[in-house]
């Protein structure tokens, strides 16, 4: 799908010759360096998470672990309370993800396919949500959740994640619906399909890829959130992975390097795994989201 423009750069201009690769060596080294700089810190977290306490003071910090201290993970999971934080994160992120996708897809369909008098104005209202910093809504939201006794409940996070995720989902999917062949929808209606059948039988199957893509992007936003969790979860037991990590590493970070790195590794593991499995969709989704936003 992507055409590659050809632009001869220095080093690419001498075809043939047995020593041709030599002139390309600097660029090859540069590419390797770029990849190393991007990837090694992630590898380093993992290596450090397996080191024993003494290795942080005696061995060079970049060295491989001498023995594999898997117990660091057990300690992060129990003493570091990561098990609790994982439960909290999963139980907030999964419902929010489901909600934002269902509501967002329906809204995008209603705004773009059904096109009514105010659909342009409502779309702009959603767009405004992408531009405005989250901070400006934070205090009233805190007050609201305080009055409704929603602080320290997962519902607070679910509501916040869903509502603040909606603008991007609506815009992304409305853009998709726009490219839809109008005739397909009209044909379905002529055949006697109701608008709800058009949605479930025609629109949904045709946008499934886009829905998965935007869901992935939302997953990263929600899993990586700190601000909402820090604000709405005052009880330490209710912290999510990221706010829990902040508290744990702040508390024990200077003394217990191994478990600290294990907890960091646990916090990044879901995003790294999802990304490694579905990287093309994630990249496409994030780039498209940025251009639209």
């Amino acid at each position: 799908m992507q055409r590659s423009a050809s632009l001869p750069l220095p080093g690419k201009t001498h075809p043939g010759g047995r020593l041709a690769w030599l002139s390309r060596l600097p660029m090859i080294l540069l590419v390797l360096l770029v990849v190393f700089v991007a990837v090694y810190p992630v590898v380093w977290i993992f290596l450090s998470s397996l080191k024993g306490a003494d290795e942080f003071s005696s061995a060079p910090m970049w060295a491989l672990p001498q023995a594999l201290h898997w117990e660091n993970y057990a300690r992060a999971w129990t003493e570091g309370n990561m098990s609790r934080y994982f439960v909290n994160s999963v139980l907030s992120v999964i419902p929010a993800l489901a909600l934002v996708i269902v509501l967002g897809t329906m809204a995008a369909f209603g705004l773009e396919i059904m096109r009514w008098r105010l659909s342009g104005a409502v779309s702009i209202l959603f767009l405004a949500g992408i531009m405005v910093p989250v901070q400006i809504a934070l205090l009233p939201l805190f007050t609201m959740f305080f009055r409704l006794h929603l602080l320290d409940t997962r519902l607070a996070l679910i509501l916040a994640y869903t509502a603040f995720g909606l603008p991007l989902v609506v815009f992304f999917l409305a853009g998709y619906f726009k490219t839809f062949a109008r005739e397909v929808i009209e044909a379905a209606i002529v055949d006697g399909a109701s608008i709800y059948q058009v949605f479930t039988k025609v629109a949904l199957p045709m946008t499934m890829n886009a829905i998965v893509t935007v869901a992935l992007v939302q997953f990263f936003f929600m899993w990586n959130d700190l601000l909402f969790s820090l604000t709405f979860m005052q009880n330490p037991e209710m912290r999510t992975v990221q706010s829990g990590l902040l508290a744990f590493t702040g508390q024990y970070g200077q003394r217990e390097w191994g478990p600290t790195f294990a907890s960091i590794a646990l916090a990044v593991a879901p995003t790294v795994l999802v990304y490694l499995l579905l990287n093309q969709m994630v990249m496409k989704g994030m780039a498209a989201g940025a251009v639209k936003g």
């Binding site: 423009a5 001869p8 990849v35 810190p41 992630v42 409502v122 901070q135 805190f142 990221q242 600290t260």
Partner: protein, 286 residues
């Protein structure tokens, strides 16, 4: 058919729930927040109407001006780094690696999806362990002094996001028609001349978009600084977002906190408009 597509009850079913939730959790709080700026207090202590006192206080608050300056300085540095390095990477992908760049693109994008808190914790640990082994000049309390902490935070945020801007700009690069570049080459343009006078001008719109996106993101920076330095030492690395957060939740001053949040929103708006205006003026001159 018109009747099916113009069914207002169906519209309500489709758009209603999302709009309702969005209005209650996003729109109403934004307006409510504007109201807060003329009050003093918190939900626990109670509120008192104070008129424009918060705005007067803002003008006279040295910590606010310091946070505004720090945030601006940080946003300019990090955005420049993200877009320039992103551009360099995009050129590398498109013109040097070409079709074989998939793996490199994938790996360089990896830091983008990592949680900022985890990355910041990693950097914090790195700089806590490192001084014991570094060269004399490198043995410093990197995160313990405002001047050096600024660079650590900046480098971290550039590192984390450069792969993202690389993808954004790369998408723009592969959209440039091959014929355009072919024509320029026939006219004798080569290598960096071609990049400088043909490719980069064609890429200008998406570069501007990247810059807006980056500045908007970096002005709202919170996670990385919160997790790396907590805004310290003192208030040396405190941007508006962090000052707003502390004012509100550590000191329970909702009115003043909302006033700070408003200045942040205005700053983001101003930056967006300014760049749009510059871009338009630049485009009309050509």
């Amino acid at each position: 058919m018109e009747r099916t597509l113009r069914d207002w009850r169906a519209v309500l079913v489709f758009v209603g729930p999302a709009l309702l939730l969005y209005a209650l959790v996003v729109l109403v709080p934004i307006l409510w927040s504007l109201g807060y700026t003329v009050y003093e207090g918190s939900p626990i202590a109670g509120f008192k109407f104070v008129g424009l006192d918060n705005y007067v206080r803002l003008a006279q608050d040295p910590t606010f001006w310091k946070a505004l300056w720090f945030g601006t300085k940080y946003a300019l540095f990090v955005s420049a780094g993200q877009v320039i390095l992103g551009l360099a990477l995009a050129l590398l992908y498109a013109f040097y690696l070409r079709k074989s760049s998939v793996l490199v693109r994938t790996l360089v994008f990896l830091p983008v999806v990592l949680p900022t808190v985890a990355v910041a914790q990693m950097f914090a640990k790195l700089f806590a362990i490192a001084p014991q082994y570094g060269l004399d000049g490198a043995v410093q309390a990197w995160l313990g002094q405002g001047s050096t902490a600024f660079w650590v935070i900046g480098v971290m945020d550039i590192w984390k996001a450069m792969g993202f801007y690389a993808i954004l700009l790369y998408t723009g690069l592969v959209d440039i028609p091959e014929e355009t570049i072919e024509a320029a080459r026939l006219d004798g343009a080569q290598g960096w001349t071609l990049a400088r006078f043909v490719v980069l001008p064609l890429l200008a719109p998406i570069t501007v978009a990247s810059l807006i996106f980056s500045l908007n993101g970096t002005l709202k920076v919170f996670d990385s600084i919160m997790a790396l330095t907590g805004g310290g030492p003192g208030t040396a690395t405190t941007p508006l977002t962090l000052y707003m957060y502390k004012t509100s939740f550590s000191y329970g001053e909702y009115g003043y906190g909302s006033t700070l949040a408003l200045t942040l929103a205005l700053q983001c708006l101003l930056v967006t408009l300014l760049i749009f205006w510059r871009a338009r003026r630049g485009a009309s001159r050509e």
